[in-house]
Amino acid sequence: MILLENVTKTYPKASRPSLDNVSVGIEKGEFVFFIGPSGSGKSTIIKLLLHEVSPTRGKVVVNQKDVTTLRSWKVPHFRRSIGCVFQDFRLLPNRTAYENVAFALEVIGKTKAVARRVVPEVLELVGLGGKEHRYPHELSGGEQQRVAVARAFVNRPLILLADEPTGNLDPDTSIEIMRLLDRINRTGTTVVMVTHDSNIVNQMRRRVIEIESGRIVRDQARGVYG
């Protein structure tokens, strides 16, 4: 599903590479944590998978597509198979929960009718039934992140990327979000999550890949934060 082959990423003007000769494979339906201190290169992996940045060297394959050679005009279509959640939610403040999710569908060409059918369903799934017409500022942090998850998942992506999704949430709310991601993972969606929340990693007991200074130092099937 996801394959990184000898990937090195050096940002311009950086003294050392963010990722240094990293190779890792992730199977369909896996749930993987990337952990490590700030600046270790975890987030660069998300960026590579989204084709926001290109590797300096090496090969990145997502959904059998070699991202490195992907033409730039094909990137939008490629991204439709990937959902993404961030620490800062990235919701549109002037749109309701429903509209935020529907927006993601409408801008990729889905009709309003499709949105009317699918959006309530996915909001129900993330536990926001009845709060469809609240604006982000009327929702708690956890609820806002649920909207973001709903938006990422509404298009039924093959992969869900989560960049520190619990970074702005209290522990209890974080656990709820993790339960939600777990539920999504059980539908067959591959989940890749970057975090440094040790509680969560220890509780989930999923595959853990630890990165330090751009290198993989640990890859454990049912790991803990350690």
Partner: protein, 291 residues
């Protein structure tokens, strides 16, 4: 739905930044008016050349003391030139008659001119008025010729004036166009900034590039179209006011500008305006919305 969404975005975009939109439209319309005027002038000069060059003659004025053999020699020289289409001889009496007719409104002036004061002349029509120099060489210097006047030279002076007006209009159009396009770039930048969250989400969920960019590009195009319509109206109104009423005297020298030509400016200006604004907007987006 998507069309409706995009159109709505365009209108909201133009309205959000309405003072900038107005500035953009005004500069654009001034630039386009100048462009239209210079194109019209160009067409006009072309048409006038065609019209006048068909009628111009070379006048060969003879001295008062010209002798018959001298006249004969001149006559022969004219006839032997392959450039000559036709030739008429105007005697002193004919010249006076023509003069009297021409200035019939001012009898005092006419009376002051005696029958002897106008010279005899040959009026020669050339097959190609541009080859005047060649013809002049063949005839020049013959005794009995006082002066050879090429009407084309006079006309060319008039055309030169038109030409410089045209160049001036083009220069102004160019400067205004630069200002207008900078404003377009600026407007698009502001628009892209105020919609940065939407754009970020759109990129994230995989909206196609054209879908992200088209509202911005269309915003510029719509402003350009409004500008071109205003520019066209300004052109039409000034044509009516300046040429059809205020400067009718000038209009008798100018061949009339057909309204059809003025109408032709509408699609031209609209095309130029929308093309240039679209390209400017698109280039601006390349820099500010890296997709």
């Amino acid at each position: 739905m998507r069309v409706k969404y995009i159109l709505n975005e365009v209108l909201v975009g133009l309205w959000r930044n309405v003072t900038m939109t107005i500035a953009m439209i005004i500069t654009m319309s001034v630039s386009l008016t100048m462009l239209g005027a210079s194109v019209l002038l160009y067409m006009q000069v072309d048409q006038m050349k065609e019209y006048y060059y068909g009628n111009i003659e070379v006048s060969i004025f003879l001295t008062d003391d010209v002798t018959e053999p001298q006249k004969l020699a001149i006559d022969e020289a004219i006839d032997s030139s392959s450039l000559v289409i036709s030739k008429t001889y105007e005697s002193k009496e004919d010249a006076l008659k023509r003069f009297q007719k021409l200035w019939a409104d001012t009898p005092d002036f006419v009376n002051a001119v005696g029958s002897n004061s106008l010279p005899e002349s040959y009026r020669v029509k050339l097959s190609n008025p541009e080859k005047y120099a060649e013809f002049a060489k063949a005839v020049e210097g013959k005794p009995g010729i006082r002066q050879i006047i090429d009407q084309r030279e006079l006309l060319d002076k008039v055309f030169k004036v038109f030409n410089s007006i045209q160049v001036m209009a083009l220069v102004v159009a160019g400067f205004m166009a630069v200002a207008a396009l900078l404003l377009v770039g600026n407007t698009i930048q502001v628009a892209a900034y105020s919609k940065r969250r939407e754009v970020a989400v759109m990129k994230l969920v995989g909206a196609s590039n054209w879908f992200i960019q088209s509202p911005f590009v269309l915003e510029a195009v719509v402003a350009g179209l409004i500008g071109s319509i205003l520019g066209f109206v300004a052109l039409f109104v000034s044509k009516i006011i300046v040429l059809d009423t205020k400067l009718q005297a000038l209009a008798t020298i100018l061949t009339p500008i057909p309204n059809g030509n003025v109408w032709l400016m509408l699609p031209l200006l609209a095309g130029v305006a929308s093309l240039f604004s679209a390209v400017t907007a698109w280039v601006t987006l390349r820099f500010y919305l890296k997709v």
